[in-house]
């Protein structure tokens, strides 16, 4: 039985509309990358996000995810960021 940790997932703009929720708390296996969490834990719960998924950038704890990706930690905040349009 793999150890589970708890992360917070936040949704914005089009992602929030499609998911019909602003944020959730989500159990995921430890040793999960942000992209794995998206594909294996978030998407199955929110299939309506599929059309948007190729345009989403991820952020962890308010920082854009860059390579190499570290594993998510207990209490991390994972953000689904659709294309931005500020300014």
């Amino acid at each position: 039985e793999q150890e589970l940790i708890s992360i917070r997932v936040v949704f914005f703009a089009k992602a929030r509309e499609l998911a019909a929720v602003s944020s959730i708390t989500l159990p995921i296996p430890s040793c999960t990358t942000p992209h794995a969490a998206l594909n294996n834990s978030v998407l199955p719960r929110f299939p309506a996000l599929k059309p948007l998924i190729d345009h989403i950038i991820l952020a962890v704890n308010q920082s854009y995810v860059s390579e190499p990706t570290r594993y998510l930690q207990e209490g991390d905040e994972l953000a689904l960021i659709p294309p931005i349009s500020g300014g």
């Binding site: 931005i84 500020g86 300014g87």
Partner: protein, 146 residues
């Protein structure tokens, strides 16, 4: 350099060029460059009724602070920076964003201000929904890259 020399605002209240100007005015500054993004009444033949903005508040603040740091490392003579972004409904003609930069000589203020609006559009997690007479649409900045 103190926090009051980097003024960052996210608000649902109307923005004011005078307050942006006041935020960056300094005795030692000779030039202030400002950019104001306003709600335009049309997009590709459709009439825009209003814009609606939302932000990932904590990350937007963080990214805007980072933009200030980057600008200051590229233009060390900058005396002050203000970045103000409006959230919620922004009617036609009103300001959604104001950037102001002051420096002793104008070239630094002008270049930094121009860079800051470009970088804001590329990096800061704020989203705009364009509301037309018929329908609406989430926009995407072509500058968004990361």
């Amino acid at each position: 350099m103190a926090d009051e020399d980097n003024v960052i605002v996210l608000t649902e209240e109307p923005l004011s060029v005078d307050s942006a100007m006041a935020a960056v005015s300094r005795d030692c500054a000779g030039g202030v460059s400002l950019f104001v993004g306003t709600t335009r009444d049309n997009f590709e033949g459709k009439t825009v009724v209003r814009l609606e903005y939302e932000a990932y508040h904590s990350m937007a603040i963080k990214e805007m602070r980072s933009l200030c740091d980057t600008a200051r490392s590229k233009w060390p003579q900058i005396t002050a920076i203000a970045i103000m972004h409006r959230l919620g409904v922004v009617p036609v003609r009103e300001a959604s964003v104001i950037i102001a930069v002051s420096s002793p000589h104008r070239i630094d203020a002008i270049e930094a201000c121009h860079s800051l609006i470009d970088e804001l559009k590329a990096r800061v997690p704020i989203w705009k929904k364009e509301v037309y007479q018929q329908g609406s649409q989430w926009k995407a900045n072509k500058e968004f890259k990361v």
